[in-house]
Symmetry: C2
Subunit: 359 residues, 2 copies
């Protein structure tokens, strides 16, 4: 359990949530909180997603927010966001959780960011934080997430904070622009969570209002850094796969082709086996609606163009896949747009982690 | 390598092919053959998909058909369908393949069906055949396929034959109606092949023209039987998963929800671990555009309604998942339509089979 408190003077905030139509109670709650626009605190728990728990589960979320507000000076439950992660379809252990809130309040400190990042880990093997410094202001963030990373937000709980002095609508614009290019473009296993939550809180404590472009770029960098850390720690993965789709007719085409490649189980197995099996890249592209001609497609793996004009290219034995990072470049030869996505290989360890116990 | 010859008197035929936009040379060739409507022979090879091999690969397919026609009495290359399976992006070993055609012709026999079904196996652990008898006519079939089984036809080579006396357009109608409900509704790993081919040849040798409904039902039964055999032999699988989506607003909704469930890696891992993790069923449904209300969804696993009204239902420990077959019933509570799909669990053996060598 972790608690993030915004000491102000400002309490503006923005949030992006899962696009799964089955949403966890804390997502429904926090969306309501964000509608007002002020977030004074965020309480995060692992050990239970509080998803598919009905009206009683929603009351558990509300009770958690109320407990946080009651345990802090000058907070209202309606400004407390809640984020949960863990097994779907079980009630939270409220008898343990509510006293946990009190402990979290007692442990609050100005330099507790690292500790909070550790506290929200579930199957994460490492905690994830990132910071970008502006001129007199800072954006920092922490993330948890190791599985169920997928489009429309990888499964993750992310809290970004800044001391910049900005209104909620500016935060919202910067956060949406950033997540579209970062968290929305990682895909560890094609599965979309019921609990994805990315929050950005601004305290205004720096007394500085940065230029929008500069601030947005800082938010993008922090999100990009955290997204890359999520992929690097995905459940059971032994390879991080960067997919650059280039020369697409539109950015949407590039993303669609990239997602199809990212989700292809056979390709993910081949990369696990360090096999530059470019045929599986082409068969993945072939299932999309992107503009392309099959006999103009080119594919490079780690810089070696193993497929040229939809057919056999350079010698595949020239590809070195021994490193952790594998780069697949898919050239659609249909335009000038591009997109980069991140994925992982599929391993026996992934199967083990997701079959050996309920999660 | 296997050879199927239609001795007539009729040589009508129908075919259904992969909807992957990246199509193997033999698929492009056989689609052309089918456009004329007569198929006198089918030559099938494993060991190479002849996909993404450019114009030279297409010439290899043409040379194979020409060799078959030259080795048989009264056949034209333009009536010889070709089906290949194996690694994408490598040329076929024509120096071995063309003599192989001669051997196949020499080995032709009226009761060689079983032998042919064995010959087309790749990673299949068993050969797959099925037969339905009508009044004075018969429909039989053989299939190969163990991986890359996915929507819009599982990856497979299937040849059905009948001695019924029917025109190609009748065969086409019956075959499309059958594949839509059978091969199109199995999904072992979400991956769509470049080589899927299902052919139905009619010789008319029985001299009987069955009623359409009766014949179509026989074709559907043979396809259904073969599709079930494909799922039962999917690479690395330890469970066959039957997904019944019921009370959907439309059949399309039922199929969309079913496919999303069928492809969810986390759910497939859970079923491998005999964990009745219904939350993963709901989160899969939540990514679809099907009509449903999250708080009206119900899910049963092997008959136990573990999820009621989108929330916790019967005790999940009551579910027995020890058998090979697992039935997931997803009740969308939105209408009266339904669909059944088949999938497999995701196992360490699947990862091994698809990472240890190129395929």
């Amino acid at each position: 359990m972790a608690l993030v408190v915004n000491n102000g003077p400002r309490r503006s905030a923005a949030g992006v949530f899962t696009s799964n139509r089955v949403k966890a109670a804390p997502v429904v709650w926090s969306e309501q909180v964000l509608r007002v626009g002020a977030v004074s605190a965020v309480i995060l728990n692992s050990g239970g997603a509080n998803a598919c728990t009905g009206p009683a589960g929603f009351q558990d979320t509300r009770a958690t927010a109320e407990k946080v507000a009651a345990s802090l000076e000058g907070h209202r439950a309606g400004e407390v966001a809640v984020a949960s992660t863990g097994l779907i379809g079980v009630r939270l252990p409220m008898g343990k959780l509510l006293p946990g809130v009190e402990s979290a309040v007692a442990a609050l400190s100005a330099d507790g960011g690292e500790e909070a990042a550790v506290a929200i880990k579930t199957t994460d093997s490492v905690h994830k934080t990132a910071v970008v410094e502006g001129a007199g202001w800072t954006v920092g963030g922490m993330a948890k997430g190791a599985g169920m990373l997928a489009p429309g937000l990888a499964t993750m709980l992310v809290v970004l904070t800044t001391d910049a002095d900005l209104e909620s609508d500016v935060l919202d614009k910067a956060l949406r622009a950033a997540t579209r290019l970062t968290f929305d473009r990682v895909d560890s296993d094609g599965c979309m969570s019921t609990n994805d939550t990315v929050l950005l809180l601004a305290s205004g404590a720096a007394g500085v209002t940065p230029e929008y472009a500069e601030f947005a770029e800082a938010v993008r960098q922090v999100c990009d850094d955290l997204a890359r850390q999520l992929i690097g720690d995905a459940e059971g993965a032994s390879k991080d796969i960067r997919i650059d789709v280039v020369n697409a007719a539109t950015e949407d085409d590039a993303v669609e082709a990239g997602r199809s490649i990212a989700r292809n189980n056979l390709l993910k197995c081949a990369i696990h086996g360090e096999d530059p099996n470019w045929g599986r890249v082409l068969s993945a592209i072939g299932t999309t609606s992107a503009t392309f001609e099959p006999d103009r497609l080119n594919v490079a793996i780690n810089g070696v163009w193993v497929c040229k004009d939809g057919s056999i290219g350079a010698d595949r034995t020239a590809v070195d896949m021994s490193g952790r990072e594998v780069v697949i470049t898919a050239d659609l030869a249909a335009g000038a747009q591009s997109a980069t996505l991140w994925a992982n290989d599929l391993t026996a360890e992934y199967v083990h982690e997701n079959s050996a116990y309920s999660s």
